[in-house]
Symmetry: C2
Subunit: 272 residues, 2 copies
Amino acid sequence: QSIISPNPRLHVSLDERRSSSKHPVASRLFDLMIAKKSNLCVAADFSSFDEVIKLAESIGPKIVVLKIHVDILEDFTLAKMKQLKKVAKSHEFLIMEDRKFADIANTVHQQFHGGVYQISEWADLVTAHPLPGPEMITHMFGDSSSDSRDTCGCVLILEMSTKNALTNPDYAKEGAKWGLMASDVVAGFVAQSPPDSDFSGWIQFTPGVNSASKTGDSKGQQYCSPAEAVLERGADIIIVGRGLINSSDVVATAENYRTEGWAALTQRITNP
Amino acid sequence: QSIISPNPRLHVSLDERRSSSKHPVASRLFDLMIAKKSNLCVAADFSSFDEVIKLAESIGPKIVVLKIHVDILEDFTLAKMKQLKKVAKSHEFLIMEDRKFADIANTVHQQFHGGVYQISEWADLVTAHPLPGPEMITHMFGDSSSDSRDTCGCVLILEMSTKNALTNPDYAKEGAKWGLMASDVVAGFVAQSPPDSDFSGWIQFTPGVNSASKTGDSKGQQYCSPAEAVLERGADIIIVGRGLINSSDVVATAENYRTEGWAALTQRITNP
């Protein structure tokens, strides 16, 4: 396995990267990775919030980020979110709302701060597509005095893992450029390959990681292994979903992904 | 004002287009347009569901589609949605949930059918970005026996109205191709210009219509007039938001937009 890009971010120590980070949530995530020896994010795609909380309680010590889709939870309440936040605090992981914002700035601002979910009140990280243009990214948090700028980091989706996704190299390049310009609100990005940038302070999340399946699902999703994600695709954080949450022993499976993912990351940094 | 494309869709009568339509919701929308002499869609971007319902009751007779963002409503309940559905039935307009789906098929399926909102239970139209690839479009409705295929039409976002949006001509072209391939679930599209296709059975929605402002908002949104939208950009349906809902007399303003929009559409069809 070889690293496809000479991007310096890939071979810098997490300590160094932490100190060049420009977002408090990114700094916190580097701290958690180092302390927990983990680069594992689990996608808890259940329709029951109780099940999400149960999962978080059991695998919390192994992960650094729990990724959720708040809008697939049939029993969502802000009280249950408080419960999940408590679990996150005690086991020290971040909560990422994978909202994939993709609207005009005025609307995204309302979707982020308002409605039933009040995402900005509890999310440590939230995903957004650069599709609508750079103004959405800079305006979703409101003015520069807004609290949520420090408590929640935007994670830009530069590339998707699905077949025939329209996130081509030009698209990803433009999105990365805007992300760097807004590094006071953007903590990282989702990608299948390292973007053309040597800024090491932001964090690459790579979804579609599954050790058991090479082929993907029947609906266009494509999978890769933890080592492949980290060594060949530039992932700092691996996102594991169905490969873990559907396994019979989620704790043992989480430990396996943590070990594999962390070994690959250590190898990439120490043996460039 | 001249029409920028020789696209035959633009000059075909609504009756003819209705008969070539392949989606029951598109057929219904052509019927409503003809019966109400209206091509007006209003974006009811309030944070209060009660206000949305109040607006719908007053402007219902003027519009053919009410566009909402269910996730900005602070007081959302399924009971209030039932109330809105009743208003929609009595005043004969469709409800479009502007969700802008943009995830992998497995997730979008859950976001569309599940969660607190149960969008597929009440939406006549729902928007989606082609960004994740064609599999999302075909799989969001479930298998071919699913009820929601007949009761809800997907509206693909081919182009956005914001500054520097990444929905460039290649993007729009690819999205349009997929939309046509999935014409059993796609009722129309959102665009700022007519796509490269002569299929007249689907319907173009154009947002960012505002007679009072030429400049847009301060966050990247750009506006155009009803006549510009219909005659120069190929809109079948004009989407008016802040230009109407913030006006002091919403009924009079709705009547103005209905008249202007309908006159432009009639002119485009009869004087090509």
